[in-house]
């Protein structure tokens, strides 16, 4: 059955982008969807062969320039991938998604020519993956003040501390470490980003245990025990790490919004089909009851409205005109509305929604990440309110 969201995308996206979306959607339907349940039940991360297939499709190089072996795509393409794969599994979609928007993106935005030439071709092909070391055990929303430190010693730097919640750590070849380098300088001017190979002496990775959301996505904790790196490992300018971080996260929020809407799109199709099949009370399908219809309608409204909004934001991003607040708003609203409506869709379906094979529980759980990931909704509202204040 065609996805309802495709009907809306057809009016919003140019034909060649729609063709690309259809290729990724068909790939997700044929190669990902039939295998998810097994991966989940066996507590697997996305298997290597699935990552390799996504690499062959060019998904890891979507917005990387063709001169570096990428696909030369833009934010719209990235978000279309999020919608196409996230419909079945957010954790599968976030694997290339984070590799691009958190791994390759800072390098694209702030890397030197030499750094780009050294890494982007392998990143684009999916042969190498970067992970962004941002959150720490003691620093989440307040990521601008890292507790990980980098101290200059002669012609090199020594990095110490711990990062956590690093998406894709399991597959990472390098970690971009956001570290405190000038504690006495003003806020936003005291940290620096470094590119550190994961096999460097003193780097230790461990998969975080007990995570019950995005179960197939790797989330790592990375320790730095006096790791020595040369000065050319700096990404961007010294003491300008906050800027690297902020410009990177802006685009990532649109991708997270696409995952939230992909879950809503799945719930919409799942519920509208189930509501026609499930017969109760005098041989009526439950879809004839207005309270069930209400949930279907609200999901439909959310999908059409927010996909339209998201595509608008992608266009602005690609034109370099997207405000931080705009990216934050579409992420906050999509994640919150999708969470609420997917929970209602489960309630309308009844007990069957408790089963993993029904699929809604997976989306329900994963939607929590879209509320707290890539900037928690609570913290992002601080950003959103700024232009609304009359006085500082």
């Amino acid at each position: 059955m065609p996805r309802r969201i495709d009907h809306y995308l057809a009016t919003l996206v140019p034909e060649e982008k729609l063709d690309f979306y259809a290729v990724v959607r068909d790939f997700a339907d044929e190669e990902i969807a039939p295998r998810i349940l097994k991966w989940e039940r066996e507590h697997q991360l996305v298997p290597d062969d699935a990552i390799a297939k996504m690499g062959e499709l060019g998904l890891f190089g979507l917005p990387i320039a063709e001169e570096y072996g990428g696909q030369g795509g833009d934010m719209t393409d990235l978000v279309l991938m999020g919608l196409a794969i996230g419909y079945h599994s957010q954790s599968v979609a976030i694997t290339p998604g984070a590799a691009i928007s958190l791994g390759a993106k800072p390098l694209q935005l702030c890397g030197t020519d030499a750094q780009k030439k050294a890494h982007l071709p392998d990143l684009a092909a999916g042969r190498r993956m970067f992970v962004f070391g941002l959150s720490e055990p003691g620093r989440g929303s307040d990521a601008a003040n890292p507790q990980v430190t980098a101290v200059r010693k002669g012609d090199h730097w020594v990095i110490s501390g711990e990062k956590c919640w690093s998406t894709n750590a399991h597959w990472a070849s390098h970690v971009i470490v956001h570290a405190l380098t000038a504690p006495d300088r003003p806020h936003g001017k005291r940290s620096t980003c470094f590119i550190v190979p994961m096999d460097e002496k003193g780097v230790f990775y461990q998969e975080m245990s007990g995570k019950r959301v995005w179960t197939m996505s790797s989330t790592g904790s990375i320790m730095f025990d006096e790791v020595k790196v040369p000065s050319d490992a700096i990404l961007g300018e010294e003491n300008d790490g906050f800027k690297v971080m902020v410009t990177t996260l802006n685009g990532g929020r649109l991708f997270v919004a696409s995952l939230a809407l992909a879950s809503a799109a799945f719930a919409l199709d799942k519920l509208r089909v189930y509501a026609e099949e499930r017969i109760q009370f005098d041989d009526k399908p439950i879809g004839r009851f207005q309270r069930v219809q209400d949930v279907v309608i609200d999901l439909d409204i959310l999908v059409e409205r927010n996909v339209t909004w998201l595509m608008h934001c992608c266009r602005l991003y690609d034109e370099g005109r997207l405000d931080r607040e705009q990216a934050a708003k579409v992420k906050v609203d999509s994640s919150r509305a999708a969470s609420e409506l997917v929970a209602l869709a489960m309630e309308a379906a009844g007990g069957v929604a408790c089963l993993d094979e029904f699929g809604l529980m997976r989306h329900h759980d994963d939607l929590f990440v879209t509320r707290v990931g890539e900037g928690s909704n609570f913290a992002l509202k601080d950003l959103i309110v700024r232009p609304l204040r009359l006085r500082d």
Binding site: V23, D26, L57, L62
Partner: protein
């Protein structure tokens, strides 16, 4: 090397088809169309041969109406260099007429190797490859599951009953491709974008007299609904007297 790949737009095999009002063809309304799956193996093989040779041109051709441009674009996105639509307005053709039309067009373009699917999954005639080779006077290997080129000599493997047959012959040749030959690639974003800039020409298909006339087309009779019988005796009697299976 000049490689020609022949592709056909066919209804998806899981589509629910309806007979057209004239009773002689399919009603395309509501039916999903796609590239004949066996033709995807031909397209992939052409790309692999060109990659291995490091040079060559792949021209993909389809006989049909303007709708078939979608499948041609898909081939361009996979990696074909140019595409030609032999436009006949999309009327139904039998394998013999199709071979005549394509053979007539091939006389106007350079070609050394013609690749196609073993059969189209709409009519399942499977006649086109051998008829085309005959008209061109080319060597032909059908239902190929492995194919290599050594200079201008091809070596093809075919699954036959209880074994595998290996044939070799100098080009030019027509090869029909079977499942197992390769794993067709999906177009990448870069391929899709590049496809927009590649040439897709429309040429009027040569008019030929149809070799076959489609007289009528009908769906299989609907199965009668199941019946719940009241007793074992009744069941045995029904199986013996009505179904006549015991």
């Amino acid at each position: 090397m000049e490689i020609i790949v022949c592709v056909k737009r066919v209804p998806a095999t899981d589509s629910k088809v309806k007979i057209a009002a004239d009773g002689r063809g399919l009603d395309p309304a509501g039916v999903e169309f796609l590239m004949n799956p066996y033709d995807e193996y031909a397209m992939e093989q052409a790309i692999q041969l060109r990659e291995k040779a490091g040079a060559g041109t792949i021209t993909v051709v389809s006989l049909g109406g303007a709708d078939a441009q979608k499948e041609l674009r898909q081939c361009l996105a996979m990696g074909a260099d140019k595409a030609v639509l032999l436009d006949d307005g999309g009327k139904p053709n039998d394998g013999c007429s199709t071979a005549r039309i394509v053979a007539a067009w091939l006389k106007t373009v350079p070609h050394e190797l013609v690749l196609c699917g073993r059969q189209a999954v709409d009519n399942d005639e499977g006649q086109f490859p051998s008829r085309l080779a005959t008209l061109l006077g080319f060597a032909c290997a059908t239902e190929v599951v492995a194919l290599t080129l050594d200079g201008k000599v091809f070596r093809a493997e075919r699954d036959i009953e209880g074994g595998r047959e290996v044939v070799a012959c100098p080009l030019p040749a027509v090869i029909s491709c079977n499942k197992g030959l390769n794993e067709p690639r999906s177009p990448s974003l870069k391929g899709i974008m590049a496809a927009k800039k590649k040439p897709l020409d429309t040429v009027a298909a040569t008019a030929v007299e149809p070799a076959l006339e489609f007289v009528s087309l009908m769906l299989p009779p609907e199965k009668p609904p199941g019946r719940i019988v009241g007793s074992v005796q009744e069941l045995v009697a029904a199986l013996r007297n009505e179904a006549k299976v015991i």
